[in-house]
């Protein structure tokens, strides 16, 4: 996270937005992360599998790789990104434990 981001969060902390704003920010984050969740698994691994299989990827066909390896790595990353961003959001809105 850049210094600029930290600064703007600091400002928010002073303002302490309402719980409704916190919830909306949470939903926006969820929407983004779940879109990625959907694209790597149902998109790349299933619906576009055949198309992506034309692309070689480190000895794999790309669609097959997403279905049996890649999507899992992305899932792990998504949860940690979520945990980190939510912790920042909790602080910004002053609702941390």
């Amino acid at each position: 996270m850049s210094d600029q981001d930290k600064k703007s969060e600091g400002n928010k902390a002073v303002e302490k937005g309402s719980p409704q704003d916190y919830w909306k920010a949470n939903l926006r984050l969820l929407g983004k992360l779940l879109a990625i969740w959907f694209v790597v698994s149902f998109g790349f691994g299933i619906l576009l599998e055949d198309t992506l299989n034309a692309i070689p990827f480190f000895g794999f066909k790309l669609g097959f790789w997403f279905a049996q390896q890649g999507s899992i790595y992305v899932f792990v990353a998504l949860i940690f990104v979520y945990a980190k961003k939510m912790a920042a959001l909790d602080r910004a809105y002053g609702v941390e434990e």
């Binding site: 066909k61 097959f64 899932f75």
Partner: protein, 591 residues
């Protein structure tokens, strides 16, 4: 040392470890029994969750399914991991903030209704029992193959161990044994995978080995080799699969949502100290799960290559020992259709159904005679997919200690999951049904006693199911996920994200979702299995994937009913506001 002595040693040592932990961490209050006191570190909880989640199905069966169905098996890989994203983002932190002991607790309070609580408790008990029967069976198989005792003795030993730490230690005992079991199972899974990856590709990391060239100098990669060999033998290409796209989509979705709705997994997130810990802990759980799940596709692919190399066009008299060992257990069967004394492995079933043997009578090459009616297929060999992980080290010719380790790992996987399931069953009985409904005046001590009695009874029932597996055990695993997807997941999700959802909506949604899903799976899996073909399925969706539709029906009915019934009371709307922010969580409590 003999293989059997080594196996006894490894299994014995691991069991001693589990019992030691059980004795050290006895639970003395319901809070310790239900949620380990609520002070479990998120990484520790992540590891325990991984062991809790990865069952005999993940450890023993999954790589075998991948080996024999290639791309189609991606539904399990994505479905059983992607569910954690839903769990972490949509459920776990809020349920932790809610701060009670069980899933029916949340549903009962959020929908201000004992009827909702009881429906949820019954779903939970049903889901968990279907699941646990399979675990005990897994224990029995490992015992009978590697320790040369009969399946019943194996199941009894497993029951005794689980009894020790689940009944005495409750969640506290289970948490720390699960951590130990995770270490045993991941080591046991990875070591043979690394060996085999080295043998086949020269790359020690199985995840990369799967994408590497074969070490035989042919310049062909593992997956190319599999694709071309399988097509030659009449199968579909390994990387393409045969299920329809809509079915793959529906099954993956049902497994993801079902995973997120499985009560024994959800309840693990009640044990961490804070909301932020619940989020992180889900991430750690998935890291530990991914260590096995990204290795499994490699194990599956290597196993298929090895199997074809060792078996196809080999004379029966020259087959390796493992082939005859598993044939002896009835999990491999061979009919020499063309009378050449060699095993032909081709696409299609060799004969109708599972092999039935003519006692110990031997055929012309010395094989056990299979009495089933032959099919027209050129294929001559039946192989049970569940043996692949257990047989893999033998097939690859690995040292005996690796084989012994795999046996201990399989037991760790089955026992850790069984214990987690038994715990939520006993909690649902003692807490959700007795304390919250039928015997509200019992003290904490009495409730703890009932929890132990319920756990002991559940161990007994699970053991019975392991010894006398109902014929449909394998078939009803689809039930566990389908029902979790169609009943619990939508009710919890709407409880958190849609403040206006009222009790009438939630209950009617759960019931219609349940009835539809039970009806569909029951019809195709139990009542009329002959009709279970794609042409008869709704939208071409198999019973394994129907939970997705059940979930949509649940949502649709819930929203429709909610519109025409009394609104959610203010104090419940306030409760929802309260669980949406992390501050003021405190530790989980009964009141």
């Amino acid at each position: 040392m003999e293989l059997q002595t080594l196996t006894y040693l490894f299994v014995g040592l691991s069991f001693a470890l589990y019992i030691g932990i059980a004795i050290k961490s006895r639970a003395s209050t319901t809070k310790e029994f239900y949620i380990a006191g609520g002070g479990v570190h998120p990484v520790v909880n992540g590891m325990a969750t991984a062991a809790d989640w990865m069952s005999a199905a993940s450890f023993i069966s999954m790589a075998g399914i991948i080996a024999f169905s290639g791309y189609d098996a991606s539904v399990y890989l994505m479905g059983w991991t992607g569910g954690y994203v839903l769990l972490a983002l949509l459920l776990a932190p809020y349920l932790r903030k809610f701060g009670k002991f069980t899933v029916p607790d949340f549903i009962g309070d959020r929908y201000y209704s004992d009827a909702a609580r009881i429906v949820a408790a019954i779903c939970l008990i049903f889901i968990s029992f279907t699941y646990v029967a399979g675990q005990m069976r897994g224990v029995g198989i490992v015992f009978s193959r590697f320790l040369d005792v009969d399946i019943n003795t194996g199941v009894f030993s497993g029951m005794a161990i689980v009894f020790m730490y689940a009944v005495l230690g409750g969640m506290k005992g289970i948490t720390y044994t699960q951590v130990a079991q995770y270490c045993v199972l991941i080591f046991a899974y990875t070591v043979p995978a690394v060996f085999i990856s080295l043998l086949i590709t020269g790359n020690p990391v199985p995840q990369f080995g799967l994408g590497s060239e074969l070490a035989d100098g042919s310049g062909i990669s593992v997956l190319e080799k599999l694709d071309s060999t399988l097509v030659e033998l009449g199968f579909n290409a390994y990387t393409e699969g045969s299920k329809s796209t809509i079915d793959i989509f529906a099954i993956t979705f049902a497994l993801m949502v079902g995973t997120a709705g499985l009560p024994h997994v959800i309840v693990r997130f009640f044990t961490v100290p804070k909301v932020a810990d619940a989020r992180k802990s889900a991430g750690w759980a998935l890291v530990f799960i991914a260590l096995l799940y990204t290795v499994a596709p490699a194990v599956g692919a290597f196993a298929r290559i090895n199997f074809i190399n060792e078996v196809n066009e080999t004379k029966y008299t020259e087959t390796p020992d493992w082939f005859k060992n598993w044939e002896g257990l009835g999990l491999i069967g061979w009919q020499d259709k063309n009378g050449d004394g060699k095993i032909q492995y081709r696409a299609g079933a060799a004969f109708a159904g599972k092999p039935v043997f003519d006692d110990d009578k031997k055929g012309a090459s010395g094989e056990r005679i299979v009495t089933n009616t032959s099919t027209d297929s050129a294929n001559e060999v039946y192989v049970d997919r569940d043996i692949m992980v257990l047989a893999n080290p033998e097939i690859a010719g690995l040292p005996d200690w690796v084989i012994a380790l795999v046996a201990a790992g399989g037991l760790a996987a089955a026992l850790s999951t069984a214990a987690g399931l038994l715990l939520v069953i006993s909690t649902a009985v003692s807490h959700d049904l007795l304390k919250k409904k039928f015997m509200p005046h019992i003290s904490d001590k009495q409730e703890l006693m009932y929890a132990r009695i319920a756990a002991a009874a559940a161990v007994g029932v699970a053991g019975y199911a392991g010894i006398n597996p109902p014929g449909f055990v394998a078939a009803v695993v689809a039930f566990a996920f389908g029902l979790a997807a169609a009943s619990l997941f939508p009710a919890i999700l709407m409880g958190i994200f849609y403040k206006k959802m009222n009790k009438e909506g939630a209950i009617s949604g759960m019931l219609t979702g349940l009835i539809f899903t039970i009806g569909y799976i029951g019809y195709f899996k139990i009542i009329s299995p002959g009709d279970n073909v794609a042409a008869n399925w709704l939208f071409g969706i198999s019973p394994e994937g129907i939970g997705s539709i059940g979930m949509l029906i649940n949502f649709a009915v819930a929203f429709a009913v909610q519109r025409v019934t009394a609104p959610t009371p203010q104090h419940v709307q306030d409760l929802v506001d309260h669980i949406r922010v992390p501050s003021g969580a405190g530790s989980a409590s009964t009141h």
